[in-house]
Symmetry: C2
DNA sequence: CGCGACGTTGATTTGCCTCAACGATTGTGG
DNA sequence: CCACAATCGTTGAGGCAAATCAACGTCGCG
């Protein structure tokens, strides 16, 4: 199946898998086309699936007491997304996952993933490394949030995620940075005046 | 060795290890007494060791451009601490790890940990779960930072980490919450007036 | 004892939010 | 293919949460 090629490539970039192993893996995933603004996970439900993004873009976000949304992370092609907290604890998720573009994903159900972990233990490593990456990202983000003002964080975002900042609406970027869209607009105005 | 007992208990709470396995594991760790304000890791150096806290308390923190410190996380007894980012990438750390009390730790060198991963693969699971916990903690923290004001975050901290909030100086808690000690003091005053 | 870390308080400033209003752009159904 | 709604980006006036700066009291400890 053609849309499973990116997953195979992604996995191979970590460890080599035999053809048999790779078949077992890719067969455990299901292709799905996702329209814009479609939800993969809704808060209150348990996250039972892990998603690999083949093409398109997603955001994971929470909603606070006053009804405001806050983006926790984005995921574009060749990235993974799931509410790890809910997935591993089995508790209802506090977060939502939603597409920001027409997208295509590969999804694997929890029980199939656990079966893969048993049958092909070395695939554990891929998921361990993936979480480590996301952990590091969050750690940097906490540090950055406490260290710098919003305009610096915006500049850092542009530099760190050029491919994302091109395609995302500013409202989504503002939500990720923890500021209002209005204030981001003012930051952008200031920057063009200077640059 | 008596001070390795807590580690053995911790590991057993996840998976069972044979006596032989457990010996191999505990022998890979070295006991170390740590005095107050002693550093286990200094920014600029590569984090080559993973630490298990037997007793006492530590903080991991970064220093921003203006010289201000920001606490990323605390670790008390039965918790792990290391700069995972530096440990796994091999790059110099941006963070510091420092004791806040007289403490006792078990430390394992990277090469010994990797040897354990090979010889006793199932121990991987313990470290995977540990990182997942810390990932979830960070995720909640980002969400909380963007959602609520400092007094709410302070109350949440008291509730979530009662054993830490008892023993930590308020300056350290303020640094963790991302506010100044002065402002935390004002928050506390307001709360006592109300309560 | 005297020094350094810690906690507190007040006056002032600032980064960012709130609310309201208004173009521009996109998209969607008739 | 146009009309209209919805989303997005911008601008301005005013307000609030938290920082800054400075001063001072307390406590533990070498």
């Amino acid at each position: 199946m053609n849309s499973k090629r990116p997953l195979a490539n992604f996995l191979e970039s970590f460890i080599h898998f035999s053809e048999e192993e790779m078949n077992l893996i890719t067969e455990s995933f299901e292709v799905e086309k996702i329209s814009k603004r479609q939800k993969l996970l809704e808060s209150g439900k348990v996250c039972k699936e892990y998603f690999f993004v083949v093409r398109g873009c997603f955001r994971m976000y929470g909603i606070d007491d006053r009804g405001f949304e806050h983006n926790i992370q984005f995921a574009a092609q060749n990235d993974w997304i799931a509410d790890i907290s809910s997935f591993y604890t089995g508790k209802p998720s506090l977060l939502n996952i939603e597409s920001l573009e027409t997208s295509e994903i590969l999804k694997i159900h929890q029980k199939d993933l656990y079966r893969l972990f048993e049958k092909i233990p070395k695939i554990n490593r891929v998921f361990k490394v993936t979480i480590e990456h996301k952990y590091i990202e969050l750690q940097n983000r906490v540090m950055q949030t406490f260290s710098s003002t919003a305009d610096q964080r915006y500049l850092d975002f542009l530099e760190q995620y050029p491919s994302l900042s091109n395609r995302l609406p500013n409202t989504q970027i503002a939500s990720y940075l923890g500021i209002t869209p209005e204030f981001l607009s003012k930051i952008r105005k200031n920057l063009t005046n200077k640059g």
